[in-house]
Symmetry: C2
Subunit: 307 residues, 2 copies
């Protein structure tokens, strides 16, 4: 019988280093073609859609995540992991954690590849689940000295900072002004639900690495378009998915698309990443398909012997 993971079980069993290592492997596999990730498949229902994002790693596993667009605040997803040799289901995860942990861990892999080796300060805009997993994963790849966080409500940013101190053991402070929260930070995480810019190029110090997790499309973006012009290095976890957004992704517009790098290629050493301490590097997170299944595979292997 397949093992089933709840959100609490995922959160308890998964550490940042393991998750980032799994995502690094998945990015390399996507770059060299072993990880197959087709476009999402959609089934229209009444007032919403069910969506399947699938993936297969060579002869190891295949599976999918399903989610829907009904917009229920407590809606749940599933991730299903099949053994590619037998078709049997090895594991199922019910909830949200696998999805947000893998997005966080992709961000951690980006920080590790693109931020300065000595990066130690982190500024965060946003205090939700996505912001949290970005910090969780960043703490696994850089020894953080300080986290500053801004979100719209004082209670939200205070709780977030307290959680960083408690769970990650890193000094953390809520900041009322978004610009102050990211000023002179080595790493910046943008993980808001804003459709209008909360940050622009002028807010970033030379040498900063930024993970852009929220909206980043033409007409709805949490950062100003000048941010991409400012970036010396622009990378994504899936150029194919970045090119398929509607409305188009800012980083996929003609003047950027040619320089948008595959993070897997950077990890493989096939494309350069940061080449100097003053460069600004930006990671446009799109959520490489198949990586939820890759993370569930890692979790299942850590939790029980392979069938």
């Amino acid at each position: 019988m397949a093992v089933v993971f709840s959100d609490d079980e995922v959160a308890a069993a998964l550490d940042g280093s393991t998750a980032v290592a799994a995502m690094r492997e998945a990015l390399l596999a996507a770059y060299d073609g072993r990880l197959v990730a087709p476009p999402r498949a959609t089934a229209p229902l009444r007032d919403g859609r069910l969506v399947m994002t699938a993936g297969q790693l060579a002869d190891e596993w295949y599976g999918f995540r399903s989610y829907d667009t009904f917009g229920h605040p407590d809606g749940e997803q599933v991730v299903v992991l099949h053994d590619a040799r037998t078709g049997r289901i090895r594991a199922v995860a019910v909830g949200e954690e696998i999805g947000s942990r893998r997005t966080g861990a992709l961000g951690g892999a980006a920080v590790d590849a693109l931020a300065r080796p000595d990066a130690g300060t982190l500024g965060v805009l946003g205090a939700g689940r996505q912001a949290w997993t970005q910090v969780w994963a960043t703490a696994a790849v850089r020894p953080l000295r300080e986290v500053t966080v801004h979100s719209r409500t004082p209670a939200g940013r205070e709780a977030f900072a307290a959680r960083v101190r408690a769970e990650l053991g890193v000094p953390a402070w809520p900041v009322a002004d978004p610009r102050a929260a990211v000023r002179d930070r080595d790493v910046v995480v943008l993980a808001t639900t804003s459709r209008t810019p909360v940050l622009s190029a002028a807010d970033l110090a030379p040498g900063t690495h930024l993970n852009a997790v929220g909206f980043k499309q033409v007409g709805r973006s949490e950062f100003g378009p000048d941010l991409l012009d400012r970036a010396d290095v622009l990378a994504t976890d899936s150029p194919a998915q970045a090119l398929a957004y509607d409305p188009p992704m800012l980083a996929a517009e003609p003047r950027h698309a040619g320089r948008l790098r595959h993070l897997g290629a950077v990890l493989a050493g096939a494309t350069p990443g940061r080449t100097g301490p003053e460069q600004v590097t930006v990671f446009c997170s799109v959520g490489l398909a198949g990586t939820e299944v890759a993370l569930l595979d890692r979790l299942a292997r850590a939790t029980l012997p392979r069938a």
Copy 2:
């Protein structure tokens, strides 16, 4: 946390009457538009595809079944049931039982609607999982006096007959000749994996009802095309799905499509079913999408209080 059902748990918890009642409701809901069942969504992987068949019942539930086309003999599926009010996942089934029980129960609903009221003998071609659930569901809608079964191997048909006697308490006999197995039977179930005819119109007595579960397409069909010409009543659980097959379904060819009735319409009294004891009635089973979720909903409600 969602409740998770294994195949053994589904088999133990689900009786034929309950399953047929659930499918009857689903057929009526599909006919009156409350059950939404969009075309299947497909994600291509290496050497196979993942497929999602989804459904939504008004404001009650939505969900899907996933399966793949890799052809693993022991491959497993999932069925996922969401509460339509909250988006939360109420139940997940892992394995094959929900899928084959719902196909059986759709067949049981067809037998109940179309076979003679006094039908008591059943002939079966095929001895696999699909043949079994057809007999299981038919026994829930007609008091069976005798089951005769033919399949390619003596061991297979003997084991099947023994299971009918043991689990359903109905006299049952293996028969070496397929024609003899269906001769003068009130109900016939065709549930083989054959791509060439194993039965033709001449093999059926007047008054027979037949459930066609296996291949029924142009160029690959377990029955001869004259069978449909012989049918006085031709019905299916989803005319829309019947029309979407590739290669085309025999019952969807121009000379039949106009008289292919929606089983839900028959159940609703909007279209006549059998109108005389000598008529031959044929049910072309296509597996109405969303019905796996409907059956899981019924199972979950029977097993635990609604969230």
